[in-house]
Amino acid sequence: MRQVAYYKGCLASLSAKELDTSTQALAPKVGLELIELEAVTCCGAGDIHEAEPDYYLHLNARILAYAEETGADTLMTICNVCTLNLRQANHALQNDAALLARVNENLVTVGAPPYSGGVEVMHFLWLISVGEGYELLQTAAHKGLKGLKVAPFYGCQILRPSKLLGFEDPDKPESLERIIRACGGEAIDYPAKVKCCGFPIIQAREDVALAELIQPIEQAKEAGADAMVTPCPLCHLSLDAWQSKLRKQTGKDFQMPILHLSQLVGVAAGLDSSELKFKRHVVSVEPVTEKLSV
């Protein structure tokens, strides 16, 4: 088992608990032992980076420091936005000794551990789409998706800016497709899979956000997808919960089930419904579970 520090972030702690339970249940099957971080806070979701950037840097340094304290060399995230925010802060701290020294002095002053720069931030998707995680996934996903047509939706902040993320080609990613195929599903291709779901501005600029949100759902539907899968709980929330608003605004009722990455693999790996928690979705996942007879 590979030990990783586990940062679940805000949404998986509350409104997207199904992401946390399915990730925790799936982890041992793909060779990961999760050490959950308790004394950590929100990464700021890009909002604190914009409102109080110095505070953002310190909050993320504190998360990295607590991750390092576990002894693991990897901090695993399950959210695109957490991934970018943490990697950005980590790069800044790892490459500027004076900056790191100042931040550490502040961390120690408030009673937090200092950070030495020894942690790498990796999204769960990256850990299971290549290498040992991928090998184990192929075995674990034995129940299979039986040809289910799945549209991968990457979202933004796991791909761009690629100089900070850099796991795969931001214009032609294929990690989700590899996983869908490994689970026995059929990966549906459509142009908007790398575009934005609109979530960051869905409250402040709802019309603009909805105009962004409709693209991937509409394209996935037209391409014949049975469901969409995303590695980001924020994308999940907008794709799933705001579909009703799209219906109200455009009259189009997509009824597109949206799965978290850990749920998609979890279904294929035979996780229990108490771990998958599909009832917590706004758009019913029943068409998927019926098709797979689970």
Binding site: C10, S15, E52, P161, I201, Q203, V282
Partner: protein
């Protein structure tokens, strides 16, 4: 060597689009712009595209290759040709096509003009000596000053596609270039203007601009700097600003985002009451976690103390982002680790140090 490319042609008179393939003989150092020149000179003189300096400084030759905005003069073609792939060249997005690869940049320039891209000094003649701007002060706008206004960022902007009136990454980065200028005195007025309906808070953080910018301007970071400056001077009444502020409040009170209160804190109580029906739909599925008792992080007193501590250290506003730019800059360098910098075909190797001379 033989190099092939497909070009989306557009004839504005007939209103017809067509994908045409061309194969040309080109030297292996050829850029995309060189290929277009060869096509125009030897194959089809009617091909339209913009160019001028050929050295990544005039910003004329922005276009798309395989769907991604690039500067044609910066894009070497040898690897693509050797791979056998035939790239598809098309005009940039989010602007009207005039002919073939030429777009009408007027909407772009209109937005640039609207941010008033000139210095508003507001101080008197310095007299005998000049005012000195320190290097530290210039660092704040170093990246924004690199913009060549090619439009590659605007071409891919997801928010502008959804809201064509969005000021967009190029104009906002230009705005930051003046907000952050130590000589400019119109900071508050500028931030009020840029915080309007189609301004700073319209950005959805898709980071396409940052990905595409061929000059390292990092327009999304420039927009974040504007947001931070707006907060610093108290221009924070927009819903986007209130949304961002609630994350700060959450982090220093409970540590985690107080999700359920985010809607009324962003939109105000009156507007959010209209969302009750929508919220009830989410409530059924556990998507509206009860705010009481709050979900409090362990040792949250540390994040509270951290807030007060860093606040007192006065790295407020854009400085909080600028302080990381030096460290992040090394990521922008395209280093080819496989290449021996002193190998064959490179610059001369440094001479060995003579130990005795030390």
């Amino acid at each position: 060597m033989k190099m092939a490319l497909k070009i989306w042609r557009y004839d504005p008179i007939a209103g017809e689009r067509a994908l045409r393939e061309y194969e040309v003989d080109a030297p292996d150092w050829a850029t995309l712009l060189d290929l277009l020149d060869i096509v125009k000179d030897k194959h089809d003189g009617s091909l339209a595209y913009r160019k001028s300096c050929r050295m990544m400084i005039c910003g004329s030759c922005g276009m798309r290759m395989d769907g991604a905005a690039v500067l044609a003069c910066k894009t070497r073609m040898v690897d693509i040709a050797e791979s056998g792939h035939v790239p598809v060249i098309s005009a940039m997005g989010n602007m009207p096509i005039v002919k073939d690869l030429v777009v009408d940049m007027e909407p772009f320039w209109g937005k640039i003009r609207s941010v008033e891209p000139w210095l508003q000094p507001g101080y008197s003649d310095p007299g005998e000596k000049e005012y000195v701007v320190s290097q530290e002060e210039m660092d704040v706008i170093h990246k924004e000053s690199l913009c060549i206004m090619c439009g590659c960022c605007v071409s891919e902007c997801n928010s502008m596609e959804a809201d064509p009136e969005f000021l967009g990454p190029a104009a906002l980065a230009k705005g930051m270039r003046f907000v952050g200028d130590a000589r400019d005195r119109a900071t508050v007025e500028r931030l009020q203007s840029y915080s309007s309906e189609h301004g700073i808070w319209d950005c959805t953080r898709c980071y396409f601009c940052q990905e595409r910018c061929p000059k390292g301007v990092d327009p999304r970071d420039a927009i974040a700097k504007l947001g931070a400056e707006a907060m610093r001077v108290g221009v924070d009444s927009d819903m986007g600003a209130k949304h961002a502020k609630w994350f700060v409040t959450s982090a220093k009170t409970t540590g985690w985002l107080r999700e359920t209160e985010l809607v009324p804190k962003t939109q105000g109580v009156a507007k959010s009451l209209k969302e009750v029906k929508f919220a009830m739909g989410l409530l059924k599925h556990g998507k509206v976690p009860p705010p009481v008792p709050p979900h409090v992080a362990k040792h949250v007193d540390e994040s509270r103390a951290l807030y007060d501590l860093v606040k007192a250290q006065e790295r407020s506003g854009a400085q909080g982002i600028v302080q990381s730019e030096k460290a992040l800059a090394h990521l922008a360098l395209d280093t080819d680790e496989d290449r021996d910098p002193y190998g064959e075909g490179s610059f001369p190797a440094p001479l060995p140090i003579e130990k005795d001379a030390q």
